[in-house]
Symmetry: C2
Amino acid sequence: MITVLRIGHRIGRDKRITTHVALVARAFGADKILIDSKDEKIKENIQSTCIRFGGEFRIETGVKPKKIIKEFKGKILHLTMYGDKLSKSLKKINKKDDLLVIVGAEKVPGYIYEKADLNVSVGNQPHSEVAALAILLDRLTEGKWVKKKFNGKLEIKPSNTRKTVISKED
Amino acid sequence: MITVLRIGHRIGRDKRITTHVALVARAFGADKILIDSKDEKIKENIQSTCIRFGGEFRIETGVKPKKIIKEFKGKILHLTMYGDKLSKSLKKINKKDDLLVIVGAEKVPGYIYEKADLNVSVGNQPHSEVAALAILLDRLTEGKWVKKKFNGKLEIKPSNTRKTVISKED
């Protein structure tokens, strides 16, 4: 079970980046995303994707990060460009561990570094929390996210030449 | 040589996503990003990152995509959720090929599909062009992007417990 916790989400300003974080969480094999600020629009948007494209992915907004972190039973992993090497960090994760992956926006409060079991960097250059989450989940699932079946109403057929969307009736 | 071409960039609305696309291009081993709309702010932002963190990455904004595509000598790869499987597409790329990787914003004009040698999907679920670019470059560089030396004024030392930034004088 992989849960993503998005902290520091600012309604409006972070709308698109947080939406990308949530869609990446879903597509790359996480089970759930929790967003600190209450944001009904993002919730509706992601739930609408789940209805059309399938899967059991869940989203909750307006959560309290400190409470989530305190009560979480499993390994807490904080994605940060200052963190330890990904390859080294992955060795400390057991396949059976439930994971809470913390993805910050611009500034992350100091207690996150302390509470995390692992502070993990996906490279130490500035880039994107969206990319960092994708690469982390890719490594955690050993690339198997791509084979996950979502059984949605809409399914895309891979093609080198055209858009092919298969639409199934209810 | 890998060039990223960002099309459909809307100033303001796409500022943060396009910035993430550019930073991912730089961090994951591309050499250059071209953005269709003229946008001095993004250019300054990315150039400032290059000055601080190093590397030879280049950025140009206000380019004409049709002209770029027409004059490009190499393989043109279009990232799209409708495209062919990544694993299959990678087999059609020679390591010596110069690559133009087209990354669209929301709607992509039809001619892009026609002009691309490869329309490539990073999974066929909706997610993020930022994540798609990161995974593509990760596969193209066989994960070696992480070892790239940028020799910047600022360097981050990976750590499981704290922020460690090494600052070198000029």
